[in-house]
Symmetry: C2
Subunit: 390 residues, 2 copies
């Protein structure tokens, strides 16, 4: 058995950043920017008014000063002459500042009679001008790699980037294996259960930016597994669930070896998740997850999400951990690194009483994994532990 | 001007939980469970082995005891006779426990010769049996409303819920208005800019569970706005951007009134975001956002996301705030509640130096809004402030 850190390193070595594709900006939210992009323009492209008011030619003004209003500038409608001494232009937020204007007086600081305005007392001291290029300048970059947010989409739009270079989504084929499994909606025999992990993992991987293909359940037979492996061709990553200990042998490894699996490791010093396997079949990375529902979901979080980050060209390494006080005590840990299901509330984490790897109800209520190193001593309430928020 | 709290209350009053629809479980991740669902079965449906080993009829065993192996039970393959005194059944993880068996001895604690096993010393004390219904029992509920997670999807699968009752996604029509705007990818005149908020807001609303329709940009003319309003028919929510102060009048309000707008309020004591408007046109809720890019995105976070929660039948109220020490000082606040763009690092929040509502570069780097109440006094570094994480 290897350590979790060694296993993660081996899993990450199976992936490399995928190709770059271009998508419409409207489809780019949540994608990974794969190349730096440069603004095609200054923003604002012109000095603009930040308020509704009057653009005047001098910055040296005082209450009582009067100006003759010679025109109007609105957003999208430039006033195309100059403003000279004693003149003002009615101006609205976002409008280009007319030539010759150096300050905007907000409308609340003026009185107007006909086409003459008089400045009132007190006078706001701001100039209320947004300089050209004040947000960004032509050539300014958004740097890659970057997970694009809604605010990034707005910024890219204002940079006039209509097509965005992003990483292709990794395609993940998922195969649940086992004679005990039927698909949701079917009627199981009394010694069967519903395949649950494949749909849960598919949702987890899609949230991380993958495209998923949930393949039909494979029975514990060579022909059924061979068929499933064939269906996974073209995927970047094949994830199998279960099948590592069927009766006395590992049928997934046997069949996968027959189609060229080069196995990197089998078994990790981890709870839950000991029977984890990873390797490569031709161009595909392959990770064999344990069949216990919670084990497979936890291994998905710990190993597959970092691998998907690698495919997407993002920094990839162990899941970020935070330190947090423990609520309740914990007994000492055994030789395997333990990822305990827990709940964070009010800045402290409590560990679920029942940690059996079959309990999906416990996982669904959890929002954190408490990481216990191999042979960690017992902990008291209030001790600081390492936590991976889910 | 009304307060932010009053404005939010008025905005929330515009929405009500939408209809319930059923979707396939494979499509349910991220949707809102709209009715309690009940497990159709026990999980596990039978007492099952938690380990690979041997099922024996007695719990009172000791090193040196021997048993005759009379058969095998694997996942999906029940051993369909009983185990009697002196007998054992080879059993694998997840397999139904045979009748008469009361304990599983892990295989590492046995030696086997032919069909006889002998228990070794020391003997693990666990029984390694998962009781029937240990995860959940038939009739156990997942309670609504609930934002479904990948772990929930796995749990619903194991409950054999193939079709899931969820709230219909709210349909949000988005109209950017203004003669100064062109769509991304077009070439603006020198007094024009790119419409950025519509795409940014659409992404924000989709992440919150909405379906979005970004309508063509409306010019500041009655006919163009009327056309846009017509295109928004059938949406649950119409969001307009800008147009509340075009020249000296509010063209959006004027045109919307012509098609039946009942306005609830106009102007909120808020920075950024003062010219916010909300009301109802027939069946549609309508929110008029300010045209400044950052104002519209911040108002989307503060007002529209809670309204979407209401449409989705989730608890809806002000965005959750956390308390956090400030890094750097802040001057006193004016009469409007200020939502300052900031960055959380290492448990403290710093406020961006430039807070002008036109700066999308600042928003894109922010991960938090620092909320400053009206007339809040100056703050020193280390003072605790209220923060909305983005």
């Amino acid at each position: 058995m290897i350590s979790v850190a060694e296993a993660l390193e081996a899993v990450l070595a199976l992936g490399a950043p995928l190709d770059i594709e271009e998508v419409d900006l409207a489809e780019a939210d949540g994608r990974i920017l794969a190349q730096d992009v440069q603004a095609n323009r200054d923003q604002p492209p012109f000095a603009a008014s930040a308020m509704d008011g009057y653009a005047v030619p001098s910055t040296d003004i005082k209450p009582g000063d009067t100006f003759k209003v010679i025109g109007e500038a609105a957003a999208g409608h430039r006033f195309d002459r100059s403003v000279s001494a004693g003149e003002a232009v009615r101006i609205f937020t976002g409008a280009p500042l007319p030539d010759g204007a150096h300050r905007v007086v907000i409308q609340e600081d003026t009185t107007r009679e006909g086409d003459v305005i008089t400045l009132t007392d007190p006078l706001d001291s701001g100039h209320h001008i947004r300089p050209a290029g004040g947000d960004f300048k032509r050539g300014d970059k958004m740097e890659s790699p970057r997970l694009l947010s809604p605010a990034d989409i707005a910024l890219l739009a204002s940079m006039n980037i209509a097509r965005v270079p992003v990483r292709r989504r990794p395609v993940v084929a998922i195969i649940a294996t086992g004679d005990e499994l039927v698909s949701v909606g079917e009627t199981p025999r009394d010694d069967q259960i519903i395949a649950s992990n494949s749909l849960g993992l598919a949702a987890m991987f899609r949230r991380a930016g993958a495209e998923t293909r949930v393949l039909p359940i494979a029975k514990d037979t060579v022909s059924s597994l061979e068929m499933a492996l064939t269906l996974s061709e073209g995927a970047d990553l094949l994830v199998t669930i279960g099948g590592a200990s069927v009766g006395d042998y590992d049928i997934v490894a046997e069949v996968a070896s027959g189609v060229g699996l080069e196995r990197e490791f089998y078994k990790v010093a981890m709870r839950p998740g000991k029977p984890l396997m990873a390797g490569r079949i031709g161009d595909r990375a392959m990770v064999g997850l344990p069949g216990n529902p919670v084990s497979s979901m936890v291994c998905g979080e710990i190993f597959i999400l970092p691998l998907l980050s690698k495919f997407l060209g993002m920094p990839s390494g162990p899941r970020a951990r935070i330190e947090m006080p423990l609520q309740g005590a914990l007994s000492k840990n055994g030789p395997r690194e333990h990822y305990m299901r827990g709940v964070i509330t009010n800045g402290a984490v409590s560990v679920a009483r029942r940690q059996d790897s079959s309990l999906l109800t416990v996982l669904a209520q959890a929002n954190a994994l408490v990481v216990r190193p191999p042979h960690a001593p017992a902990c008291d309430s209030g001790d600081v532990v390492e936590v991976i928020p889910l």
